[in-house]
């Protein structure tokens, strides 16, 4: 077991696959991001049968599969339900470590929205803290049209 590599000259073929994609955001997400970009408003989808508001929004209710959904605008304010502080840099991370990732339950919605916290020290973040969206100056219809969330004022 310990000597399995004895006498082995490992030959490695190095290669790289470049895989560009462009993902169509789809009908539901497009409606959300256009409203976010143009009006700086956050909206979710309401299932009347389940009486729940989902954010991210969806074309069908994830619980009962009903397609009878209705858009509702919510205030850009919510509560942190989970978070972590990432200390180690990964290439795919959107900014320099340390980064505070948080699940934010926007008031009135059923599910959490994943985003970044800023204008707060990592040590001061608490589950249950109230936060508000800081909208980006330049908006491109992506999730970063909300630049980050910060402690509610």
């Amino acid at each position: 077991m310990s000597n399995v590599f004895k006498g082995v000259e490992p030959l490695v073929v190095k290669s790289k696959i470049s895989v560009p994609y462009h993902w169509w955001a789809g009908e539901t997400a497009s409606a959300f991001f256009i409203k976010l970009r143009d009006e700086q408003k956050i909206s979710g989808t309401w299932c009347a049968a389940c009486k729940k508001l989902f954010l991210p929004p969806r074309k069908t209710c994830p619980l009962c599969f009903s397609a009878q959904i209705e858009w509702k605008t919510v205030q850009p304010v919510g509560t942190v339900t989970a978070f972590t502080v990432v200390r180690r840099q990964l290439a795919a991370m959107p900014r320099k470590a340390p980064v505070i990732y948080a699940m934010i339950k926007i008031d009135g919605t059923e599910t959490g929205l994943l985003h970044i916290l800023d204008e707060v020290k990592p040590g001061d973040v608490k589950i249950g803290m109230r936060v508000e969206a800081k909208f980006a100056e330049v908006r491109k219809a992506t999730i970063f049209d909300i630049e980050y969330f910060r402690p509610a004022r």
Binding site: P10, M103, T111, I116, G128
Partner: protein, 386 residues
């Protein structure tokens, strides 16, 4: 035409951080040869093969075909199943479905991974939705850390509690010659290791591993002819929560709770803590060893840490968990869930050698996937009465 089904043989590689001496097919071949030897069968006896690994990890898409030199699948029915972290458990469930349906008598199940061949953090990030989650989020650890933070806030656990789980699994690994990491650590060493994502330290999480595992399942028509001690499958299940990272109830693994309830109800298990004798838990980081046994119904919510500290889940305790050393000691991802299944089967069959738990009647093995989904299998010594 439905049949009862059992595991009749298992095989694994000696897992390592990298295996520069073999390619993927050769790695698979090591596990398959050992499983055939264990069951005293030859490739001729195998009616179908299910194989699985992680999407993007080796950059090979037609693994079902590409792997036949290793798996022995030339001109046999071969199917590939891949479900992220749960892959190894899902292929076992898929194999069970094939045998239990009566369509195939003997099925070979193969899980494998050469984690060393690519940027696995990049590949894992493709598990997250590209529009909503992926721009914000990266890697596998951040989500687990958020779960631990939410659990800590709700139940008052500490990072010492998590570290105790890591100490247990790393100690158990000393008994398993197949495990990659076989070094005992102390609580203080876990807590002093670098913080990756609060509250998870380096020694709280699983490594990256090259390895393969193979399991042979047979129907009740042949299982007892192949081995005197088949490991009967009593139930399998899986559940997915909904689509986005923010949809989960952080601090609770709802998919585990639902899966466990379904399987235990079917098997007539009323007190899992007393009726299950060993668990091979797909536990990619230490805190899951506290949180998820609560969701499985072993102890009530908030009582996991106390149960771990009591020593009940150590070798020699009431309900040993991860005698193999678990995922923290060894994680060839596409094989990881199947290793849990094989280790549970070995416990039931009395073949677990230095890591054998005495008198195992029922064992549980599980699989976990990054956006909070769960696979689970209930194993048993007796043939199920349904």
């Amino acid at each position: 035409m439905a049949k009862r089904a059992a595991i009749v043989g298992t095989g694994q590689t000696f897992h390592k951080s990298h295996r520069p001496d073999v390619n993927g097919q050769e790695l698979i071949n090591e596990a398959v040869s050992r499983a055939l030897l264990d069951a005293n069968l030859t490739m001729k006896d195998i009616d179908a093969i299910i194989i699985g690994n992680m999407d993007h990890f080796e950059g090979i898409n037609y693994v079902d075909c590409w792997s036949v030199d290793g798996s022995g699948g030339t001109m046999k029915p071969v199917m590939k199943i891949t479900t992220g972290g749960t892959t190894g458990c899902t292929i076992a469930i898929g194999g069970y479905h094939l045998v239990a349906s009566g369509m195939f008598d003997k099925v070979l199940i193969v899980g494998w991974e050469k984690n060393s061949e690519s940027d696995t953090s990049g590949a894992i990030t493709t598990a997250f939705d590209p529009i909503w989650d992926r721009l914000v989020f990266a890697g596998a650890i951040s989500g687990l850390a958020a779960e631990a933070q939410a659990y800590i806030a709700r139940y008052g656990a500490t990072d010492r509690d998590g570290a105790r789980v890591s100490v247990r699994d790393r100690k158990h690994a000393l008994n398993n010659p197949h495990a990659q990491l076989r070094k005992e650590v102390s609580l203080e060493e876990v807590l002093a290791s670098p913080m990756l994502a609060d509250p998870i330290h380096l020694l709280d999480v699983c490594p990256r591993t090259d390895g393969a595992c193979a399991v042979i399942m047979a129907s009740e028509d042949s299982a007892e002819k192949i081995t005197k001690t088949p490991d009967w499958i009593w139930g399998t299940g899986n559940r997915h929560p909904y689509a986005y990272l923010g949809d989960a109830d952080y601090g609770r693994l709802t998919s585990m709770e639902r899966t466990a309830k379904e399987i235990f109800k079917k098997a007539g298990i009323k007190e899992p803590r007393k009726e299950i004798n060993v668990i091979e838990l797909y536990q990619p980081y230490s805190f899951a060893g506290i949180i998820w046994i609560e969701d499985m119904g072993i102890v009530p919510p908030g009582k996991g840490a106390e149960y771990i500290w009591s020593g009940a889940t150590d070798m020699g305790g009431e309900l040993p968990i991860n005698p193999s050393g678990g995922v923290i000691s060894c994680n060839p991802i596409g094989a990881t869930g199947l290793i849990r299944c094989a280790e549970a089967a070995m416990q039931v069959m009395g073949k677990a050698e230095g890591r054998q738990v005495p008198d195992v009647n029922h064992a549980v093995s599980t699989g976990f996937g990054g956006c909070w989904w769960t696979d689970m299998i209930l194993h048993g010594k007796k043939k199920p009465n349904y």
